[in-house]
């Protein structure tokens, strides 16, 4: 291989794609509008929990996170979904996709009525994300994958000198997967400071509390030991999320290091009758129960649930 060949190869790279993703949806949404938006997203989640059901607990825990990201953080709009200069969000804990469906529907990425196609063969709205749904960057459902996929996207953005950033939502139970920590090592080695992970720390995995099965704490110290910079925040307080995520929109917590935010959340948040209950991970409620839960979401009393708690799906 001649030096000429070497020079040619080393200097050839694809031109940076145009960055027209702009300011995304963030400019249009004020912080004080987000609780009402998140409530509408939660209504979608509850409505998806019948006629076959959905992973309602984990969806409710990350609803505020997704609403905040799509309205205040991501440089992304329905018009810029195909723009290589957009920010990317990967939902690695794919079973909470009802929260994403609800967010995408409320923000105009998909028509709201499309959620009525849940579990219908005529559409692709099912229990895990897939790219037939505009706004879904990559399919998931098998835990421990998308941090690695996000590494590839973040790496290409850096190769092209792009300013856009890559976000990944991880479940806390997902941290059991060795591939997450393998990816943490590699992201740190590659110094991918355009990459941010958010852990939805709802303290449950499918059947039990995380700390009662495979204890995860101290999570921040684990990430720090793997070369990441870590912050924690209340995952249901938009002011706290703004303080934690806002600066990451512009820059990493530390130059040369990937960032992670551990968002403290509550599984089933918004529905006291199923909050923090191990048996309400996946649920398929009756139409009457859905009506009761929607009322409960709006501050009404808990009416009690009689549907069997489906522990594992």
């Amino acid at each position: 291989l001649s030096p000429e060949t070497a020079a040619t190869v080393a200097t050839r790279s694809s031109p940076s794609p145009p960055s027209t993703a702009g300011e995304g949806a963030s400019a249009a949404w004020e912080l004080d509008q987000l609780p009402a938006l998140a409530l509408r997203v939660r209504e979608h989640i509850v409505r998806l929990a019948t006629g076959g059901g959905c992973f309602i607990g984990a969806s409710l825990s990350c609803a505020d996170l997704l609403v905040h990201l799509y309205t205040r953080i991501l440089r992304l709009t329905p018009e810029t979904l195909g723009d290589p200069g957009r920010d990317y969000l990967f939902l690695s804990k794919g079973h909470d996709v009802p929260a994403l469906y609800g967010t995408l529907a409320e923000l105009g990425y998909i028509p709201r009525q499309r959620l009525g196609n849940h579990l219908k063969t005529s559409d692709s709205i099912y229990w895990h994300p897939n790219r037939a749904v505009p706004g879904v960057e990559f399919h998931s459902g098998s835990l421990g994958h998308l941090l690695s996929v996000a590494i590839g996207v973040a790496l290409d953005i850096r190769l092209r000198g792009g300013p856009n950033r890559v976000w990944v939502i991880l479940g806390d139970g997902e941290l059991d997967e060795g591939s997450v920590w393998e990816a943490c090592l590699v992201a740190s080695a590659l110094r991918l400071d355009n990459l941010t992970a958010i852990v939805d720390r709802n303290e449950f995995q499918a059947n039990v509390r995380t700390e009662e099965l495979v204890p995860l704490e101290p999570i921040p110290a684990k990430f720090e030991a793997f070369g990441w910079s870590c912050r924690t925040a209340d995952g249901h307080d938009f002011g706290a999320l703004e303080a934690a995520l806002g600066p990451l929109r512009e820059a990493p917590l530390a130059p040369g290091r990937p960032s992670v935010v551990v968002a403290r959340t509550v599984r089933g948040k918004g529905l006291p009758s199923i909050e923090a209950r191990a048996d309400r991970w996946f649920a398929n409620f009756t139409a009457e129960e859905i009506d009761g839960l929607l009322a409960e979401l709006h501050g009404g009393p808990s009416r009690g649930l009689t549907s069997e708690g489906l522990v594992v799906r």
Binding site: L1, T5, A6, T8, V9, A10, R12, S13, S14, P84, E137, F138, H139, S142, G144, H145, L146, L147, S148, V149, A150, I151, G152, V153, A154, L155, D156, I157, R158, L159, S179, E182, A183, L185, V186, A189, L190
Partner: protein
Amino acid sequence: MSAGPPAAASSDRAAAAAHEDWGGTGGPAPPTYEAALAALAAVRPDLVVMTAENRAAIRNLPPLLGPRFVDVGICEQTMIGAAAGLALRGRTPVVHALSTFLVMRAFEFIRTDVGIGNLPVKLIGAVPGFLSDGNGPTHQALEDVALMRGIPHMQVICPADEEELIAALPAIVDSRAPCYVRYNAMRPAVAHTTPFEIGRAELLAPGDAGADGSAGAGVTLLTYGFLLREVAEARRLLEERGVPAALINLRTLKPLDEAAVLAAARRSRLLVAVEDHFQTGGLYSILAELLVGRGLPCRLHSISLGERWFKPALLADVLAHEGFTGEAIAAKVLAAAGEPGGRSELDETWTDRPGGAARPAGWR
């Protein structure tokens, strides 16, 4: 993952040994996979070369490719996931690892991220089959073809030597399908007669057929990868014994050159599939699926590793011990064809023989 560096070193040794064994002449250095990949990368900015710390075949590429050379360390799963991410951004990742760890440690990442995504990630598996020589069963990829061809859209390409690998490389990276390559940088196994094309086999010897390959050969030998050299020798020996056999170098197992196989089945009374792979899921299975599906009642015989890992040793000794030298293959074919001088694997296992390298009794 155990022993990345030792395996790589062993691979180098194996390549060197093979070079000596198989006619290295000390002449001008032949074109290499590494140089071919570098040349393609020079004109294709989409190519990104990745490795899970297996650099034997791509040792000189880091300074040439700069940030387009990505070594993730011994993290096969993360390498595949990241390759999928790069492919989402329009890159064509060419990823390298030892075959066993690439297709098995990272299998679910290949199937789920690359397969479901149908992304053009090129999987280069080193030291497949017998080429892991002395590493032992942890490193023996004998089910890689079965695993990879089971993934929708995945192409499976098995070059017979480095010349064929280099010839295949442009087609491999041009294809928008995911692709698994049984990497093999051996010296040329035979004088190749047919340009490489995905899905096209190379008919190397027509047996006793006419020039158009249509008349009746008794036996057709089908193989892929570096064993082509041994099977070509077996064919020569069979011819000496008055048993002319056709020889097909399949090159790509998926997509399969069905026309070549069906033509062989129509003109032969016996097809023999020779492979350094378990019997299940490899070439024997591929041929059986095709022949049964088309209702062709042709006899099909497998010369494979059945359900066993092979005895670890240097490659030449492995071939002798396991009965995969040209001589041993010819004897097995004679037995399968019911000809005198045959030696069936059922008579006595090849691995029972002390020293392992002796000729079959009564041979020649």
